[in-house]
Symmetry: D2
Subunit: 407 residues, 4 copies
């Protein structure tokens, strides 16, 4: 790979990406464009502008954007239509944010004539894969620079030396090593590393930043109603809201009630196991609610089909294949099933859990006339069940007869 | 089907199966053998003996058995190895008990020379299917009598008239219609029908019988440790216990902390949707713990494979195909993956939820040496990731190049 | 089910459906509408009109339609996009025709004010299921009459007596029992029953009606080129043709070269095994060609995904669930993958087989620059493979290390 | 990776692996052990011994083994139990041989105290992945040397120079570049590269080495019978034969009749498409026969399950994951289904194709009593079908009713 001439960097404004910024300038002598996105991580973005300028980035090369609505509408919600969880439990909060960032990096590269993009993910994790697969899928000629895989700043000491040497300001609380590493966006906060590295040791309480402790959460349950249209949440307690606003509100509710904590050991795409603490307050409520509305509006054929392909869909997102033909084909399937997933779910929020307690819909497939224990006025002929069972049993009888004969 | 001569009836001792007993005698003039099983439903069995005798059953035709260990060891535990849930949430508590009952019915029929078995399930539900498919799979020549599909006792009034006419004692509290229908065993209690028939109306509190209300559950979390061997729970807090004892203890713990409540609308095999309230206190803890131990002992290849076939496995159990070649083939796959699923999980029980907080194992695949944020002493070469990503990206680049060319 | 007042009958003009027509009139005293479709079965339709009139059907109640283009464009081609085969080998020729017939029956019922439809399939086969599921899916209030399951004309003798009694003309060659039963349409001819009922006995030569014997087929191979657009065949040897015309031409080519014979034992949906002789001359060529064009235009992610869901898709069609949400969701997935399946395949037709021998496309993903054994000018860096393998191996090494430790 | 001290090389005795042998000696100064296996590739092995000795390998370091029975019994047959084909058509002939070679390389390394193994696969193909994943899975501490990824002998000229420089004899016909590259074993011969690199150009006739041209094959069909036990072929025409003998005989038969040619473009694991000509004469017959015997002995539940996981199983083998927990778990499933796959298949071999024409078994599930068009003496009650259909339709009716209401 020839040296890059102009690089678009995913820039947070923090110490690490500031070091990367400077390293790109010094290592490659290249022009740097910064992209700082508000994905709902809960940090001010404007300080990143000042810092980028201080590090010599031209004003026209500083991109700062609020992408929260794009994030929720075009990434989070499509994924939630699938009830996607990775390895049974993880709601893919980090995985789903990476493709959006790469998409904007590539678009900005094309707009600014840059030939490369750069990210601050390490060589051990999944995020490097997600950033790079997305970038290459969107622009097969783009170069991707992953400084953590290239440089020799392999210890905290070397990083700080590099920062000092290049006049990068170091906040006092960044001198020492953080006790764990954090990623956050509107969907979740993840924590991993250092104090969390032994999965046999309980996580310290101070790791949790996004949710209140269930033990100190309110002693009274709170009930809410979430409205859905075609599989996407559109309202809370009857109030129509934009996608990002809905997720923000659900995050607040989830935080209050201590909902969405997960202590998890997962299999990374790069081959090792890793332990993370995930907090997904709003997403956990949303998943429960989406399942609740599907219960009455989705037929079993579609539902079982969705369930059977979900693990593969979740694995694709986890592994970084959001922008792949197979994810898009699966999405076509999933979206097709959501045509009538419209209605309202009532949930109880209490001490760490969200539970569906009622659901209704004009699109409901639930037929009290059929299921009732009372007289069903002929809606269902119980005698049909005998034929149904007999033909389902025919194969089993033939097997049993054969097995008895040959044994 | 010719008339049965001798029938083994799944007999609870309650009013409904007593009516069936008498109806079999009067309708077919046949000898009746009763089978009453302790599956952990929490009822005394001996009253069933007296009642059967009173209804004219010969002592040698009364079978009363404690099958709890068989139930947990050979049905519940194999199913939990798969992390089986139906439609995302239901732990299959009713489904998994039916095959065992049918197996004993058929065995007793063979032992007593009976040519038929009978059950008390209605023609609208899944249980008839489960009872009958299991019976036919085990003995293709057996007859199965399902009185609810045959007789004309189609209302409570008619049933009570029949009972009075045949001197079947009616407990006072059985005169009126029960507000909902209940099934229970060591794994769960289900409630459905009548007051629960509108899924848009919250379930009344009095429906819950097996778990305390999370709101009144203890204000302090309780921590327990569950030991596993080859995928099955073998100990609680270091104490080795039999399968049924483990589930019993977990049920007590789950009850206390209000764990395992589920308000659910599901798709029945017979084609309609149905709403049920499920309480699975111990099973909910067990599922969480099993996932926890798999997190460190199961590799991603086996784990993702299991996840992908789980919905089909769960559907087979739900639909009544426990005794089918395909369920057995899937079980062979699942059991093969459990060879090293051995170790200990620590869980927090609190206010309705069980959460894994730590896990350890001599069989762990978790490698702190590889994953650490610290110096890994060469365990992992970050440069490998570049090649890994490049080859995973090659296909995506070729696609992007093609698409750009033809668009 | 109350008695039907007006019935639309799938009417071939043959003896059996004429008997059904008369039986409907006499049994139910109802008005009958006939629907006779040209699906490419190779029979004249106009005699059916005369016969229907003779049996008392009003002219305005006689529907005769050429549905071949609809059949190929909207049923056969979508199915071939999936490379659908049932149980590894069967191209679903009968299964795919039934939904179309039911759709027209229901539409004609709605147009003529009929409250029922009727078909001539027996109670043992799959076709009854396919006709009826399709009808109910399209009109949940329609009645379906299946005379073979209702009447007592259970022998050839009784049928002929009924025909004579009602002045239904009996062709001389219909007096005796046919040696096997046949179904045909533009996609295939199936033969089953009687002389074919022992799967251990070779089929007699005279069963084959649609394909020449490979042994007497031309001694020289013939080469053809099939053009595809978005997964559908659009031309033969450069000549653009309509869907039905393409299939007709391929049938002629396949017939000449003895292509598409299959001696098969399959599992019916109703639970028994059945042996059939299938002849699918054009379809067999088409399947091979479609696979050939996908080889260069479809990426592995989409391709493997399609392959993995194909058995379920084929099973749905076989079982009669064409008009189901899950088939439509799978179709959405499949169609999404076909966006670039455009190009040309060259095939060799010879003595019973069609083989792809070359394929090319403007949409090809094949990159000679990457794959070449010659100097690839840096298109591919072989060193990437080391990292790719190392990370794919990491998991396996950790497993091996663990297993060695605990054994 | 530190330099290897002693290397076990997969050695064919040909020019390329002789160059590798010498390169290992000169590059690393290490001791070399050669392993030459008879996998049925049809070459004499003893010349490899002389050549190895000439290149300075100690006699005790030369391993020459006939592994054909091991290959067929423990690799080919288990794979055929699954009816495994990659991307619809490829019988995995190369893929399945690699794990066995790696296993012996690792075992010999352990026996001789070698710390590394080496193979002659290039950095572009799948074989490097297969060799290395297998080796690492069996011995996580082994080093694997892949000279083609390491050295700079990047052209034919350089290779020949190296050979001459190191006194490696060069057969006259090896001076020029071969027109294509070949791999062979008892299951198949593959050809790829150079003259085959344009998939739009027909393969020259001279590429085919393992099968006669169908056009010149015998004009008369030949009929054979293959006996199976538990899914494996055990006899031909009634003669019990060892696994390798059976495959050898089937290869002879297939060769004569021109069976098993495949012109294919596939997706390599490393991300590019590749065109190969495969000849699998015996394997093609065996696959057809295995499907034939499963048709009557395997029930639909097991069969459909097998079909649905087959693509994943085939992909695992193709990608080199034979020695992985997930392949072994899938194998457990597959083997479980083969318990009764015992019986005999009759096939017609003719002009390029093998077709099942009859099959019989003591373990047959085919019931003429049930399927017959004649009177079935009550084996099957056609009225059952009405109930079966009604309950399968119930869901579809509820959907149709809902959709009509909301549209």
């Amino acid at each position: 790979m020839s040296a890059p001439k102009k690089v678009v960097l995913a820039y947070s404004g923090g110490l690490d990406t500031s070091i990367i910024l400077k390293w790109l300038q010094t290592e490659y002598g290249c022009e740097v464009v910064t992209f700082t996105a508000d994905l709902g991580q809960g940090e001010e973005l404007e300080p990143a502008r000042a810092k980028a300028e201080m590090l010599g980035i031209k004003p026209e090369n500083i991109y700062i954007e609020d992408v929260r609505e794009d994030f929720v509408a075009n990434y989070v919600f499509p994924m939630f239509r699938a009830n996607a969880v990775y390895e049974g439990l993880y709601l893919l909060g980090t995985s789903i944010a990476r493709p959006l960032i790469s998409k904007r990096l590539v678009e900005i590269a094309e707009a600014t004539g840059a030939d490369a993009v750069a990210h601050g993910a390490t060589g051990k994790g999944n995020d490097q894969v997600r950033f790079e697969l997305a970038a290459y899928a969107l622009n097969p000629r783009i170069k991707v620079i992953a400084p953590w895989r290239e440089w020799d700043l392999s210890s905290r000491t070397k990083l700080l030396e590099f920062a000092e040497q290049h006049q990068i300001p170091i906040a006092k609380n960044k001198r020492g090593e953080a006790p764990f590493s954090v990623d956050a966006n509107l969907l979740h906060t993840s924590s991993e590393g250092r104090v969390l590295e032994d999965p046999g040791v309980m996580s310290p309480d101070y790791v949790y930043q996004r949710t209140d402790d269930p033990v100190t959460a309110p002693d009274e349950p709170e009930y809410i109603e979430i409205g859905f249209e075609k599989g996407d949440a559109v309202s809370i307690n009857g109030e129509a809201l934009s996608p990002a606003t809905i997720l923000t509100r659900l995050n607040e509710l989830g935080k209050t009630h201590g909902i969405g904590r997960l202590d998890f050991v997962e299999n990374r795409f790069v081959g090792m196991k890793s332990r993370g603490i995930y907090e997904t307050p709003g997403g956990t409520i949303l998943l429960e609610a989406h399942r609740g509305i599907e219960q009455i509006t989705l037929d079993s054929g579609s539902g079982h089909l969705k369930d059977s392909i979900m693990p593969r869909y979740a694995e694709l997102i986890y592994n970084g294949f959001w922008f792949s033909p197979e994810r898009e084909a699966l999405q076509a399937l999933i979206d097709k099933t959501q045509e009538y997933v419209t209605g309202t779910v009532k949930l109880m929020l209490y001490k760490g859990a969200a539970r569906t307690v009622a659901r209704w819909s004009d699109y409901s497939l639930y037929s009290e006339a059929h299921v009732t224990f009372e007289d069903d006025a002929g809606a269902y002929d119980q005698k049909d069940a005998a034929g149904f069972i007999n033909l389902n049993a025919l194969r089993l009888k033939l097997i049993a007869t054969r097995n008895a004969k040959v044994k």
